[in-house]
Symmetry: C2
Subunit: 204 residues, 2 copies
Amino acid sequence: MLSLHRRDTPVFDFLNECNKSNLPKKILDCGAGGGSPPLAIFFVEGYETHGIEILDSQIERAEAFALKNNMDFNIIKGDMKELPYEDESFSFVFSHHTIFHMSKKEVGKAIQEMERVLILGGLIFTNFPSYDCVGYGEGKEMEKGEFLQKEFGEDVLHSYYEDREADMYFENFDFISIRKWILLKNEGWVDNLGMIEYIAKKKL
Amino acid sequence: MLSLHRRDTPVFDFLNECNKSNLPKKILDCGAGGGSPPLAIFFVEGYETHGIEILDSQIERAEAFALKNNMDFNIIKGDMKELPYEDESFSFVFSHHTIFHMSKKEVGKAIQEMERVLILGGLIFTNFPSYDCVGYGEGKEMEKGEFLQKEFGEDVLHSYYEDREADMYFENFDFISIRKWILLKNEGWVDNLGMIEYIAKKKL
């Protein structure tokens, strides 16, 4: 098993659910870039991986990881609000630590796109920052729970959610689990990170 | 990767930390029985596994699983408050969804034993029910946060903890992470299960 950063370990839960299903092993990661790409743990389990990423710099980091480990994730450049994939073309789609870098309305658009490319009975996994998160309340509040915050020196919108607020995005899904977690202490990274993660199945 | 029940998936986080360390792959599970033994995920990664379990029925269930999957976990019958192992004989020791079935004082004794059998720099993983847990407040409160509750028809003591209350057990450890999670929704199992999980390293 490949190791992940602590904030990324919930992806193992999703892998666990995907493995339990008997669907074809074809998966899409929305926001797939970075130096420790979660698609790697699916790749080593024999999944056909696809990814989309909006930032060149993050694509490069993922490609460097893939090259070093003799893998290939099929990551393309693009916007997760307009996925360049056919309807119902994946068994599994996820977006981890990514989808909240926009307004709640835009998040809804992105999840609609994820739903569109998912087969009936396919599984989705996304996470959202909770009101318990250390970042909640920082910066200027633009809409309810949407804060304009500095990230790597740039102004970025972050959306935060109440416990079951994100249910609104999953009308056409059945919930498998909704888990909130708070990192009370975390060696070498930020404490009091609070996230809510959804695993759901597209209705048949 | 073997699949786990949803309540057990945090064990993947511990596996992740164990794999990242360069210690000998020798692990002990305290409360190792049951039909889906977490030791299995270490076994398939090449760990030398050992387990202790107080209930015959749970040992039998784990042995049935091992037999079916052609594995061997070395689970013996015994009490985790008096571990029949030498000092500093394991790199990793954990107790998942088990250690809170006793008083807080007894939990302290069990963790002392886990510390004793762990090498310097070795890793421990345990979880504790939080005050957010659905079970908190049920039954007769014997001491602060200790409730006498029915489990499979028998009276069992369950201990519940405030956010950093269990820190008291880890005086001789450095924290790697402390994570609280709450299952807000959980298909096919209880909702609002709230747990606090500790991963820590025995001080050198």
